[in-house]
Amino acid sequence: MITGLTEEQKSRFPEFVDKWIKIGLSTEPADRPKSEECIKHLYKLAELEEPKIVWAPCPLSGALTASVLFNLKKFSTDLPVRSAVYSAIYSAVDSVVYSAVYSAVDSVVRSAVYSAVYSAVDLAVYSAVYSVVRSAVYSAVDSAVDLAYWGGSLWAAYTAWTDYFSLVLKINIDRTYLDLVQSCGVLYTFRKLVVMTERPELISISNNRLHNEREAALKYRSGWCLYALNGVVVPDWLVLTRSEEINPRDLLKLANAEQRREFVRKVGIDRICYSLKAKCLDNVGNYELLLLDLGDGRKRPYLKMLNPSIGTWHVEGVPPGCDTVEKALNFRKPNAMKSIMIDDAGEDWYQQGDVCIWPKNAKSLKPLPTILT
């Protein structure tokens, strides 16, 4: 049993972090022969029939291809291949590694690659693919394709961890899954079918977030791409239009709060307030209740507020007639919370961004969150 790591073994953490971030962010074309060889081996490991392999140029076309084929053939997603691969790896590690060692490698190697690749890229790809798939296909197909999703190179975090155990601690692990992650992009695995996809042609990262102020931040050779600012996928015009050419009024057309945040960051809160003839009705701390000119003869209240964690401004609508910050904040509470009495001696509650958390059976709550981040 391995119960601890030597200093020399610990000193090799950065090597595996760097290696797998590079693999996770690779923009090389897929190594198709290698990928196919690996996936066939993994199906064999799981005692499954060799699958038919179909290639698609990007995760979106892969998901749509998988949707169509699933709908035609009803390929099963009840697939033991993932669990077979994981159990082969984990049982090999668990049998010889003490949990403290496991945690030490996990917290340094896996988490660093996770932040740089999975959080930065895979989550955006997954969300973008499924927003299209959900609207394009039946929900049964959507959930089947969801189950079939494997991140390929974008799931490099767990392979970084596995690679360390394999090469540094000399644990005998079947390395086929590591080879697969090194050779292709996202894949969709069904019984008898695998839809494999290419890696991106361009990945633009800043501070571990998808970000490009001039062009798409993530681009595939198929032409499918995502525009992103500071990790938020945004409409292309918000990236491609120069700040001074953007009409500040377009802020109010964006339905998504994170996209509005990036709009405010790009255009500037002062220019938006000036252009929308903002009139301050009330202010408390980092909150300012503004009356904005919608451009159609109406003036309506919006709450301007600061994200205290990252220092960015948000502007969100509140109902007509709201004329104080207190009323605006009360309106913003989830409906179930509004029925609970407000009392200075009430129970504590918490708010993280747009999520409120309160004691389930509270009879009364404090007027403001005890912790706000």
Binding site: S131, A257, P319, P334, Q352, G353, V355, I357, T373
Partner: protein, 81 residues
């Protein structure tokens, strides 16, 4: 109430970022009204990629998303992020 696969209180649609209970053993249930409920047996943190963590004490909790008013659709709705 539907038990969720992961202890997630809310997911973002354009970032994939999520408000997540750091203790993976906590079970989160979602009601038809979209509210999520969970129980903590020791203090646990809620983490998110773009907000500082918050620590939740021991107890039974409900979580829900804040509202905003869309002046063009003239309706209140949950904030989408």
């Amino acid at each position: 109430m539907k038990k969720l696969e992961k202890p997630v209180l809310a997911e973002g649609e354009v970032t994939g970022h999520a408000h997540v209970l750091e203790d993976p053993t906590i079970e989160v249930f979602e009601g038809e009204n979209g509210l999520r409920e969970f129980q903590t047996e020791s203090p646990t943190r809620v983490v998110h990629e773009e907000h500082n963590p918050i620590e939740i004490p021991v107890g039974n909790f409900t979580s829900g998303k804040v509202l905003e008013f869309d002046h063009f659709a003239e309706e209140a709705r949950q904030v989408r992020d």
